[in-house]
Symmetry: C2
Subunit: 339 residues, 2 copies
């Protein structure tokens, strides 16, 4: 029992909670017998969902949480006041080493605040970045940071590059991940003040495989594995990615329904098209880790279904097995950047 990897899951967060969260947890324990999942939430509702499935009873435990943090609540207040919420309870479990990781599809703001305030940073880590995977033509890239760290400094971005490299190398098994910084041109002299300051630091950083600037246009082509930017820009990239993709898809669908001829064609095209576009989905890799914490916190999409929840739990297992935090601790601690 003691060797089990323990994952706490917010059963109440997300659009399809608790049903899909519970289903995702059941899916994860079916895949791995060496993990234990704590489902945190309103126990009556969670148990009602759990009753629908059969699973190894010792692998799932329900932990009651009286309160729920709503997406619209101001995060700092919510974390401070709702001590009995699933998010605060889950974060506390990680802090107290009762869980190795916490997965939530709930309020991004509360997760970011809770991660920093409750779980706390690894010594030497200046700011913990939120690093979602985004789909590309070649697979996925890690976009780091999309979190709360707006107006970051150059030293933060260097740490993001290092943590992102460790993550991609060990969790996604990408050898010598290519690190690029988001810029408005390929040349070294291009950019805003932050990028100009960060560029030479990344270039001289021995621990990473820095390949230079990446223009936003080239991100979907998969030209880099770790895409470094400050959180405002990262957030814009992440959300525009979703927005343009969704708009484009809806226009393709609309176009196909335009005429009788196109409707017939749509029926024929659909299966192959669906298969191809499935590749342009990042959810199968799990959620976005909040890196650099004393433990692991993973934010999954608010719209997460069971499969993404299962994948996020498995992602936490890999994170633990690959000793990512030990590697971050070692790398950031001994870094010449740190003085």
């Amino acid at each position: 029992m003691d060797e089990m990897i323990k994952i706490a899951v917010d059963a109440m967060g997300g659009d399809h909670a608790p049903a899909e969260m519970v289903k995702g947890a059941v899916g994860a324990v079916a895949l791995r017998q060496d993990i234990k999942v704590y489902l945190i939430g309103q126990q009556d509702r969670v148990k009602e969902e759990l009753a629908k499935y059969s699973y190894q009873g010792t692998q799932i435990e329900v932990i009651h949480a009286q309160e729920v943090i709503e997406t619209a609540e101001p995060p700092v207040m919510a974390i401070r006041r709702k001590k009995q919420s699933s998010i605060v309870l889950g974060m506390n479990m990680v802090k107290e080493k009762k869980a190795d990781a916490f997965v939530s599809a709930g309020s991004s703001g509360a997760i970011l605040v809770g991660g920093q305030v409750i779980v706390g940073r690894i010594k030497g880590v200046e700011r913990p970045p939120l690093a979602p995977l985004i789909p590309t033509k070649k697979g996925v890239s890690l976009l780091i940071d999309c979190g709360a760290n707006v107006d970051a400094r150059a030293s933060h971005l260097v740490q993001f590059a290092k943590m992102g490299s460790i993550y991609m190398e060990n969790v996604l098994q990408v050898k010598h991940p290519r690190v690029a910084i988001v810029n408005i041109g390929a040349e070294e002299e291009k950019g805003n003040a932050l990028v100009k300051e960060t560029f030479p630091l990344l270039k001289n950083c021995p621990d990473i495989n820095f390949v230079g600037s990446i223009e936003a246009r080239d991100i979907p082509h998969g030209e880099a594995d770790v895409i470094v930017c400050e959180a405002f820009v990262g957030n814009v990239i992440l959300k525009l990615y979703e927005g343009v993709g969704a708009t484009f898809l809806s226009m393709v669908k609309q176009g196909m329904m335009e005429t009788f001829r196109s409707k017939v064609g749509a029926l024929l095209v659909k299966p192959a098209l669906k298969k191809t576009l499935k590749g342009f989905e990042a959810s199968e890799y799990g959620g976005a880790p909040l890196l650099g914490l004393n433990g692991l916190v993973v934010k999954t999409h608010g719209s997460s279904k069971a499969k993404e929840v299962t994948n996020s739990i498995i992602q936490c297992v890999t994170f633990k097995e690959q000793e990512i935090n030990e590697k971050i601790r070692k790398n950031i601690g001994t870094s010449p950047m740190e003085e």
Copy 2:
């Protein structure tokens, strides 16, 4: 003759110069008899192209330019040294009021530098923004600024909002254009330091219809007519828009070629799909104006074909007819922001 609107066109800039530039100019004078187009470039090559068409001879004049500024050249140097380039000659014509506007598909950097250094700013305008139109589900939005003004200040963004409103209202005939600022959340307290400082200024600006923050996800839905941001973020939005769109389209095409069944379907779907996706093209509205100058400079896509060139010339005509610069001069000059 004196009442003619005079447009200078860089015949040498862009991937398809001079052929498509010349063809576009011929297209424009066919549409409007009250305009005169100056084609600036290597005269032998330009005249050779011109000889392919019939047009009203007095409406097109070729002006010889010995030099060409290449896309890769450092812009400041290029503008300073290549006095006989099509870009410098065109800018000088605008400066000397020999032309009302200059259209180029050449080096963005050289166009931005030339606009500021040669044509010069309207008194009171702190920085001239480059403002492309981006396609949305509902039509187009003006993305302002995508230019060279990285690390902008709040007062710059307020001017962008005003100039963008004037442009959308008068050139695109959008009544009371909705102005939004790019942000990472909808609430007023969200954002980086620049957005937090700018938000209340826009809110209290009497000349614009400010609707608050816009998240990148909602940009493709057309939730705002004027989308205000500083140039680094604007550049990321513009290029990611193109990148995700192009990647998505290539994946759709690839998906359709996957099986025999899908290939047959693709043939049936193609005409309707093409028609729908054409709506998601901004080039029919012309190029990106560099606003706030003593004249007009329009940057068109490097990949511009004749139609976009024609549209850009017509856009310059509307700009002149609607007296946009007089409106900007009046609005920025009398603004309470200016003190």
